[in-house]
Symmetry: C2
């Protein structure tokens, strides 16, 4: 595995890192193909938002340069960037002199069954709820125990993803994906104002749909509205779009708009 | 700094650790004096609860033996134990073959002003709310961004601690302390069923108060009930008990029961 810490090859970090101690940091997982990073501007935009909201003194221009250099050397697969608040000894107070740590690692691209994209997937109904925390909502931060608990709920490979609701019962997202529904030719994706991760592919779907004349509403979605949808799909930056065809005893067809959006995003997915 | 990883001296860990990636683990900070750990059984009890709830395959007998050996070598200060789900490459699913990682580090005992204990402290009213997540409530897990954000709200050393409420406005705890109020000679401490950390000193306060004939109720506490209390105090495993004398424009005296409990816990605090 190719790993850089603060721009240099390394594979170990001090036990004093606040990313370990408190999950005090952010991450991005970026698809890399032919030495280039997909959706790099969107990843950097989300990172900039997180850095601002967590008060991390990160040099974003340096991060961009490092990502470009890493992609060139790495070539193909998934690059994971972790940014932490650096070292701290004890106590939650950020050190007066904070030096963020940048950890970049490259792994092979994940291999998902082709049928996920072609035939659609079954959703596991996760019992784990997302707590509502507006201060952290939307960020891809390092506090991910809810996702760990949710993903541990099922082992059956018949379920490619799980559905997560918030503590009020609103439908929010997959464990590692964002969710869209189609109703009357329009897209609706859940608001991420209270919880959830604002995926870069979610933003890209909204943008390319808009360019093709398809409107997206962002708002609340309850289970009844999900079941009543004409089409349902998931997206993330690694696999693009998966149609959803089943949740519990309910089924949806793989719909026309889902297929159209898969086509519009084909340049971002290895086939 | 004395550091052991999996029982051996080391100061670096792999970037693939899931404690870093997801905050997928637990920690304990244990006061060590004359080569012995204070409240060790309570720390291990909370760890056992966390291990069970997070599904971590941790050998608790091994951890106990390691803590005893570490305390003997370390002598005096604070021992911090971090337990993680070990290494993972990508994805939230726990590896089939999980090997938890144990990280033990020793630091000097924190030095707090003596006046905190004697004269009491002012509480900073934190705007950061604790999200309600029953699946994680009470645990000392590694997802601590809420505490990081709360502690970053104030720099003025006139405030020794901050007060945190949950998203419904209930009073829960300090940023690194538990909270008790006294009303009509009884103790009340907030329920930690929805959020908060179940401190070992909180449990010890309840036990020693009971042995002295003082009842503790555990339940909900709103701001009005806090302000109406006869006495207010905080506790944690490092400093014991601090009386609370001020929050915003409201004040409380350092009360008799608070002083009595400080006396009952004197063997657990360096003076």
């Amino acid at each position: 595995m190719l790993v850089w810490i603060d721009g240099r090859p390394a594979a170990l970090l001090p036990v004093t890192d606040r990313g370990l101690a408190y999950g005090d940091g952010l991450f991005e997982t970026i698809a890399v193909r032919q030495g280039r990073m997909d959706l790099l501007d969107r990843h950097l935009q989300r990172l900039a938002d997180g850095v601002q909201r967590l008060g991390l003194p990160l040099d974003l221009a340096l991060v961009r340069a490092e990502l470009l250099a890493f992609a060139g050397e790495f070539g193909h697969g998934v690059a994971k960037l972790i940014v932490t608040r650096g070292d701290g000894l004890r106590g939650y107070a950020p050190p007066v002199d904070t030096h963020c740590r940048r950890i970049l690692s490259g792994s092979p691209a994940p291999t998902y069954p082709v049928r996920n994209r072609l035939d659609g997937i079954r959703l596991y109904p996760c019992a784990t709820r997302l707590a509502e925390q507006p201060l952290l909502a939307g960020l891809k931060h390092l506090n991910r125990l809810e996702q760990v608990l949710a993903r541990a709920e099922w082992q059956d490979p018949a379920y490619a993803e799980g559905l997560m609701c918030d503590s009020s019962g609103r439908v929010i997202e997959g464990v590692f994906s964002n969710l869209f529904v189609v109703r009357n030719g329009e897209l609706l994706t859940p608001s991420l104002a209270r919880c959830g991760v604002a995926g870069v592919m979610r933003a890209e779907v909204i943008a390319r749909a808009a360019a093709a004349g398809v409107t997206t509403r962002v708002g609340d979605l309850d289970r009844a509205a999900l079941l009543a949808a004409d089409e349902v799909f998931l997206c993330n930056s690694q696999y693009g779009i998966w149609p959803v065809v089943a949740l519990d005893s309910h089924g949806w067809p793989v719909g026309k708009l889902t297929r159209k959006l898969q086509g519009l995003l084909a340049d971002l997915v290895d086939v």
